[in-house]
């Protein structure tokens, strides 16, 4: 099973991407989305998702609000901001550049 380390640098990208497709998700749902959409390959240490979310919130890429669910429990749901959308574009192109470069190396050797 990949260690959380393998997510380093791409966790922000994944969270932003997921939120751009599916607005208004809480932490657990984001985590589940990462797991499901990656075909259960990518998996974060669940708790470390939250400091990352809070950091992105401080950076102004996402915003949060509390909602009350039918069960009466409160949940904190996240949404992409305009700055987050821009950040997503930047991260995405950076990721593509990096993977393209890595692929080139793999093909050449």
């Amino acid at each position: 099973m990949p260690k959380p380390d393998s997510l380093q640098g791409s966790l922000d990208l994944l969270v932003l991407k997921i939120l751009s497709r599916r607005p208004r998700l809480h932490g657990y749902a984001i985590m589940s989305a990462i797991k499901d959409w990656s075909g259960e390959v990518l998996r974060a240490e669940e708790g470390s998702l939250y400091p990352a979310l809070h950091r992105m919130e401080e950076a102004g890429w996402i915003r949060a609000e509390w909602v009350t669910k039918e069960s009466g429990r409160r949940a904190r749901i996240y949404d992409l901001t305009a700055a987050g959308r821009k950040q997503l574009d930047a991260e995405e192109s950076r990721w593509e550049a990096v993977t393209a470069a890595v692929n080139r190396v793999l093909r050449t050797v």
Binding site: H26, G27, Y28, A29, M31, S32, E45, E46, G47, S48, Y50, P51, H54, R55, E57, E58, G60, S71, R73, R74, A75, R76
Partner: protein, 881 residues
């Protein structure tokens, strides 16, 4: 979210923590709802505390948050120990307030630049040499013709300004017969321009207003005077005022903050130098000279040029000197011209109080250090009590810096609260001290604006105090070794060493304060108990002016009239009262010998003056009606000793050499202080007030002083009556100032009284603080060693032995501190020598008094601790732990 929200989060930290925790909990709950095993979900989640801390640190300014927590914790610590905290804050507040006051005074008098353009390029001209009395002296008075030559000599490098000494003069407005007092200064017409000043109303002088002697009867009022006297009435322009026998037209008002260049006096009226009666005389030095250097000009070449010019002027002038010995003339020529920075103005008050203020500043600084040592000791003792708390904090992961911060924040609380109270104290005390400089009828006026400079000083002082208090205990706390502290160990002696060192320092400072205070008090005591040679009780002096000079007989008639006023015992006339600070002198020659090198001092008196003053005759007679000057003289014992080898001079004669006039000695009287209480007895000759010129014509008198001895023990009760009676006898006469002789004497000892009073107060505070400090340390050491004492008592130690053990270390420190203080005291005396009068630092009493006081305080402070030590019950003590 931004820095703003992170800052805001600091102040809603609890809510933030709750929200983070709730979100994390909701994650687990969600997992369980999705059918996962709660234990597995928690494991997958990782350390909830770590994640929540991490999130918290992201969403908050972490250092500020910890500071907030420590601030609250520190406040609670203070509140927990109300009495000790209050005592610490009060003593610090007093000391900080006193330091701030001292700084305000020093700043206002000596440091703050004048509100003129380029004060940093302003210099005052001095001459350093040997006075006519043979002592080294510095003069700042200049004659105008000399000034004019110097100004021309350096006109490319600097602008010179002639500015007279501010003088208290009589002013009358228009036809108004009421005379009032105002400060007058004669200034160069171009002064305002050179200073870059603009008028508030009307115009200021220019060079054209200062051309021909007596030709520019214009006056400029200072803004302060305009406000005080005229309520800022703009119609004041064009009004006339009379000073002496001359009328002046008011042409303008100066800018708001400019009060002249004589710091400590607010000039009311400026007039051009050409209006001064001695404007073109080369033998009258009546003004200061200031130089405004042009930008980029070096000082030394300008000084050399001025020196050469002035020296040539005096050499030329000295050719006309007669009646002076060669040596006196050489001494007079041989002076060095100096340029001293005058950014803060230049005044007699600065000269008189520079050293005094520095000494007071040092004293209050020492008191502050003593107070700091006290509180630092207190905090060290408390840190000992909290060693376990600190150790616990370290072991659960608090960083060392966090502990330093914890202790420093506590001392910051103390320093801050003390600073706030101290500021309030300084607000009140600085004006209080200023009001006690100078006699009440002529107060010093210093602008004690509480500006950025004072605020900066106060802040720096507060921060300094915070570190003095907190740094040692803070570092100690941070160096705590959890293992040994939690076991209850740690060497108690290392802490004791710091406290003992502080005690020694405290005692040393306290000794110094007491010692200096003792010198000041002794000085004041000796000055005020100086033998007077006359009886100052019940004496009034009435400075009186006639509108025009009047024949002497008219003056005699007024004196005669005053004698008939009920309540008056006797009255006489003199040119001035004794001890008003002024004198006139000249060289004399006895039996046709060459002129003496020692100056003789003169005072003009009427018949009956010696009787009114109660100066006893040794031989000869008083003046009679018809005696005139020159002609006869009454001389003092010191005069006889100086010029007649102590022989009885009655019947002999001397010549006043500068005027070539002879006096025959008709009486010999006892000595009396002449112009100043601090001076040694001078050789004085009394001559008749009635004087005749070379042709024998009687000289009219414009100004003189009536000396009145009253029956009442409060002579001032008669003041208003006498003020009325003088013009009733002669309508031309006006009394301009009434002072009792005792007031004049007091005015001479104002500085000494002030220094003695303040020093005594701070000595008491220092002694009290040092005593409290000693008590605290002794008490603490008993508390620390109570187990050891219990064991000693259990195995049979006597009470005396216990007392000795408990106090020995501390008394060693007291002795060491006192010796250090003694050394400091003896070393510092030469800096304050100018403030002392007939007191020697090495006097046994001067050294014994502080020693005894400190020893007594130490003994008193030791009593409670010793009692506590010998009352320890060994059984209870050994059981308790």
């Amino acid at each position: 979210m931004s820095l703003g929200s992170r800052l805001a989060n600091v102040f809603r930290g609890d809510r933030l923590s709750r929200e983070i925790d709730e979100e994390l909990r909701s994650h687990i709950a969600e997992a369980v709802e999705h059918g996962r095993d709660p234990a597995e979900a928690r494991r997958a989640f990782g350390s909830a505390i770590r994640h929540s801390e991490e999130s918290r640190d992201i969403r908050i300014v972490a250092w500020l948050d910890s500071l907030r927590a420590d601030t609250i914790f520190g406040w609670r610590q203070l509140i927990k120990r109300k009495v000790t905290s209050a005592a610490a804050i009060l003593s610090l507040a007093l000391a900080i307030g006193a330091c701030t006051s001292a700084f305000r005074l020093i700043d206002a008098l000596l440091l703050r630049p004048l509100p003129v353009a380029n004060p940093d390029r302003l210099f005052a001209l001095y001459r350093e040499g040997t006075g006519f009395d043979g002592k080294p002296q510095t003069f700042d008075a200049w004659a105008y013709p000399d000034f004019r030559l110097m100004r021309a000599a350096v006109k490319d490098q600097a602008e010179l300004l002639a500015i007279s000494y501010a003088e208290r003069t009589d002013v009358a407005y228009g036809s108004d017969q009421e005379i009032e007092k105002a400060y007058l200064q004669y200034v160069s017409g171009w002064m305002f321009g050179s200073f870059g000043l603009r008028p508030a109303v009307g115009r200021l002088f220019t060079e054209n207003d200062d051309q021909k002697p007596g030709a520019h009867p214009y006056a400029v009022l200072s803004h302060d005077y305009w406000t005080r006297r005229f309520g800022q009435d703009p119609n004041v322009i064009g009004r006339t005022l009379r000073m002496g026998e001359r009328l002046y037209e008011i042409v303008g008002v100066g800018p708001e903050r400019f009060t002249g260049t004589e710091t400590g006096i607010v000039t009311d009226i400026f007039v051009p130098t050409m209006m001064h009666p001695a404007a073109i005389r080369d033998d009258s030095t009546w003004h200061r000279t200031l130089a405004v250097l042009k930008p980029g000009v070096a000082i030394e070449p300008v000084r050399a040029k001025l020196h050469a010019t002035s020296r040539a002027f005096e050499q030329e002038r000295a050719k006309g000197f007669t009646g002076m010995s060669r040596k006196s003339i050489d001494r007079f020529i041989d002076q060095t011209l100096l340029l001293e920075p005058a950014a803060a103005g230049t005044s007699g008050l600065q000269k008189d109080y520079r050293v005094a203020l520095a000494a007071m500043g040092m004293l209050v600084m020492l008191v502050l250090l003593i107070a700091c040592a006290n509180v630092a000791n207190l905090m060290t003792a408390q840190a000992a009590a909290r060693a376990r708390e600190m150790a616990l904090r370290v072991s659960i992961g608090a960083g060392r810096w966090r502990l330093v911060q914890l202790v420093l924040v506590e001392s910051a609380w103390l320093a801050f609260l003390a600073a706030v109270m101290g500021a309030w104290f300084a607000r009140w005390s600085a004006p209080f001290v200023v009001s006690r400089i100078n006699p009440p009828d002529n107060p010093a006026r210093l602008f004690l604006a509480a500006g950025w400079r004072v605020l900066g000083f106060g802040t720096a002082l507060t921060v300094g105090v915070m570190f003095l208090l907190g740094l040692a205990p803070a570092l100690r706390a941070s160096a705590v070794k959890p293992a040994s502290a939690l076991k209850g160990g740690e060497d108690p002696r290392s802490r004791g060493r710091l406290m003992h060192a502080l005690i020694a320092a405290q005692v040393a400072f306290c000794f110094l304060v007491l010692f200096v205070a003792g010198l000041f008090v002794a000085t004041f005591d000796r000055l005020s108990n100086r033998p007077m040679g006359f009886s100052p009780e019940r004496l009034l002096t009435l400075n009186t002016v006639a509108q025009r000079s009047q024949p002497p007989v008219f003056w005699d008639q007024v004196a005669e009239h005053l004698r008939s006023v009920p309540g008056v015992e006797t009255a006489a006339l003199a040119d001035r009262p004794l001890l008003d600070g002024y004198g006139s002198n000249s060289f004399i020659s006895v039996n046709g010998a060459p002129p003496t090198e020692v100056l003789a001092y003169f005072r003009s008196i009427s018949p009956g003056w010696t009787g009114t003053m109660k100066i006893p005759f040794i031989d000869g007679r008083d003046f009679r009606e018809g005696d005139t000057a020159p002609g006869v003289a009454i001389v003092t014992e010191a005069f006889a000793k100086q010029y007649f080898n102590g022989e009885n001079p009655v019947g002999k004669s001397f010549e006043r050499t500068a005027r070539h006039v002879r006096y025959q000695v008709v009486g010999l009287v006892r000595d009396a202080p002449y112009r100043s209480m601090r001076e040694p007895i001078l050789p004085v000759a009394y001559v008749p007030l009635h004087s005749v010129d070379a042709n024998g014509a009687m000289q009219p008198i414009r100004e003189a002083t009536f000396i009145v001895r009253t029956f009442s023990s409060n002579p001032l009760a008669l003041a208003s009556t006498l003020r009325r009676e003088v013009p009733r006898a002669q309508p031309e006469f006006r009394v301009t100032n009434i002072r009792s002789q005792e007031e004049l004497i007091r005015a001479q000892t104002v500085r000494e009284r002030l220094l003695a009073m303040l020093a005594l107060f701070f000595a008491a505070v220092a002694l009290l603080l040092a005593g409290i400090g000693l008590f605290g340390v002794l008490d603490y050491s008993v508390l620390q060693r109570r187990r050891e004492i219990g064991i000693r008592m259990a195995i049979g130690a006597q009470a005396g032995d216990i007392a000795r053990r408990v106090t020995a270390d501390v008394f060693g420190m007291v002795i060491a501190g006192a010796l250090a203080g003694l050394g400091l005291g003896l070393a510092s005396v030469r800096y304050i020598g100018a403030l002392l009068y007939e007191v020697k630092a090495t006097d046994a009493t001067m050294l014994a008094l502080p020693s005894i006081a400190i020893l007594a305080a130490a003994l008193l402070a030791a009593v409670p601790a010793v009692i506590r030590a010998v009352r320890i019950d060994p059984v209870a003590m050994l059981r308790s732990d």
